[in-house]
Symmetry: C2
Subunit: 102 residues, 2 copies
């Protein structure tokens, strides 16, 4: 399992519109091969910042499968114009898990 992390800076004032668009767009990665789960959070300290966490079976499922697909173009078409600057994507392998995640 690999965790994709993206910190999204939404253009201030467009947060509500972004969340509305995300509600449609979220079904796109969720339909991709290797998708496991998705979580979007909004930042308390910087309310125009969002944290997107996506679990994939493998790094290739995200970087080769999803990002080279037509579906990725649709995803970026729906959401990309809300982000300034464009986000940086990082991937993490699990080292430690504890407790009872919600």
């Amino acid at each position: 399992m690999i965790l994709e992390q993206v910190q999204l800076s939404v253009v201030p004032g467009r947060e509500e519109e972004f969340e509305h668009a995300f509600d449609t767009a979220r079904h796109i990665p969720a339909a991709a091969a290797g998708f496991r789960s998705l979580r979007l959070g909004r930042c308390v300290e910087q309310p125009s910042t969002y944290l997107l966490l996506v679990e994939w079976d493998t790094l290739a499922d995200h970087m080769e499968g999803f990002r080279n697909s037509e579906a990725f173009g649709q995803w970026r078409g729906l959401l990309g114009h809300f982000w300034d600057p464009p986000p940086t994507v990082l991937h993490f392998t699990d080292q430690v898990r504890m407790g009872d995640p919600r």
Copy 2:
């Protein structure tokens, strides 16, 4: 529920030592009031970077309860010297959840 996100830059070359110290230190927040879960990941693209995600019942459980406690001093004593620069802590409220998290 609130999600604490911390991106940790470990001094290059000290990753293994940090992971060993973390294995002890992780029990400290896990024993705090309001703790729900913890997850530590290691970055694929930047192997000295780690992602710490902690779920708390409330923001106050983390910022007032844990960070003002003696236990937080122990946590920082065990781990703080591995981090350069000191990390920025952000908190996120859940907007969207999908799929079946591992």
